[in-house]
Subunit: 294 residues, 2 copies
């Protein structure tokens, strides 16, 4: 079978939600790690890769960004924001005696995010970490005779035939995960079935090593052009803890004048600038991102 | 038994390395999640908590920072940088036939970080994600009759009696994890056995909602005082994706004039400022952090 889209698996994770929305009609294939998924795009096994980039339970931003920067050939061509909702679920077999649950399985971050629910309502239940919320759900469905439960999303409940007992058990609602679509060239991905929420350009900027106040100067190049930032993050260079680069997202499409002029000005003060992508944003709920500065 | 120090477990992880160096003579207790460990400090079950805060394999920065900000009462009183080295290990039983290994277990991030080793030298071996590198090592030691291996650190090899076959199998050497020590008041933790590498103050700054260019203005308050930043990161507020705050680390101790004046100036432009800690830095290797701007 020819797969056109790869994603960070397993099935039933939030990444699959993003993939289903972006590529409803394509053959998709799951990969076990972010680099394996990105290599699949690089070597042409799949055309697109979908990986988490921010605020995620199942993966890490850093890994996606590191491999994107190291690859040199891959670009971000789209982004999608997915609301993250965690539910407590058991096998239908245990629906009526869910209060007897003695062990709850989930990803460690999900267990941490549902701290209040677990310490108030599931006081004497032990928690067991699993590599993903979906794997925890699968484990619960594998042992219907045991008094166990999982914390996972509704896709996992559906995939593994579990019954949701309590919805939204996370401490803080309004959690979201951002996913990016990776492709070998920078042609923006347009999804017909969803409205575009906005546009974004992601910069990787390395500062000159001997220039005090360079970050402040870099931000001036954006500020006086009234280009709004939606994210800034300093990251250690892989050569050790001592050197840094910056990832900056601006809410602006690549254009003929504004962005190229900003890049030229930042390069003129001795910085190295790379554009990791200029792309449309989609969202699976009504919320859209706002500016950092407004 | 009275425990004075809690840490993110399990045994044999990089967090334990940090704990061993900082608290060689104390009774320590491991916790399954970051919030459980931080609650133990908050409710006085332990005096200090040690949790990862940056570039970690076993936990996440975000969770530590989120709970630190939400707690209001907990402070960072020390920081330690631990080099992260991953090794390939098997049961001593399989030392001579390690080439027959059919499955390698590790944390998904560790598997991803050892991508080159796995795809070049372990081509037909399947990889299986585990919740921690230490748990993977334990699993390998539990089944000495199987042809399996783990990727984990030397502490895990020692803890579970495994034999290291290949050292430093990660793609990029020079990986580090930063851990912070959490305490109920802001008295800096001094460790007699290690030299102090420097001092740091961590700010949480929330921008006013209707003020364009506020971030640039905030950085001016640091820049013109020649206070060097060593980290900046924007984070979404928990009220949704649309609002942000900033985490800024500066390489400067809390003092009588410079820091209070900076805070007053930033508050004067309508920002909310909180100091999450002002603390000494320690390191388990010779590298120290440098400025963002120099």
């Amino acid at each position: 079978m020819n797969y056109s889209v790869g994603y960070l698996g397993p099935k039933g994770t939030f990444t699959q939600k993003a993939v289903d929305a972006l590529f409803p009609d394509e053959q998709v294939k799951s990969y076990q790690t972010i680099p394996l998924c990105m290599d699949a795009v690089k070597f042409g096994h799949v055309k697109y890769g979908v990986v988490p980039i921010e605020n995620t339970l199942e993966g890490t931003v850093n890994m996606t960004l590191d491999y994107l920067i190291a690859s040199k050939t891959l670009k971000v061509v789209s982004e999608i924001v997915v609301p993250v909702e965690q539910h407590f679920m058991v096998d239908p077999n245990n629906r009526d005696r869910w209060k007897e649950t003695d062990t709850i399985y989930s990803h460690p971050h999900a267990l941490a995010q549902c701290h209040t629910f677990l310490s108030n309502e599931m006081k004497n239940v032990s928690v067991e970490p699993f590599t993903s919320t979906a794997a925890a759900a699968k484990h619960v469905s594998d042992y219907p005779e045991r008094s166990i439960g999982a914390i996972a999303n509704d896709l996992a409940a559906k995939e593994y035939g579990l019954e949701i007992i309590r919805r939204n058990v996370e401490d803080v609602t309004n959690n979201h995960t951002r996913f990016v679509v990776i492709h070998k060239n920078d042609t923006a991905l347009r999804v017909k079935s969803m409205p575009i929420q906005g546009f974004k350009t992601t910069f990787m900027i390395a500062l000159p090593t001997d220039h005090a106040g360079a970050l402040h100067q870099v931000l001036s190049a954006f500020a006086w052009r009234r280009i709004n930032l939606s994210k800034i993050e300093s990251r250690p260079m892989k050569t050790g803890l001592g050197h840094y680069y910056f990832l900056i997202d601006v809410q602006q499409k690549m254009d003929d004048i504004l962005i190229p002029n900003t890049v030229a000005e930042i390069e003129a003060i001795g910085c190295q600038v790379e554009i990791l992508g200029s792309y449309p944003q989609y969202s699976l709920d009504a919320l859209t991102e706002q500016d950092l500065d407004s």
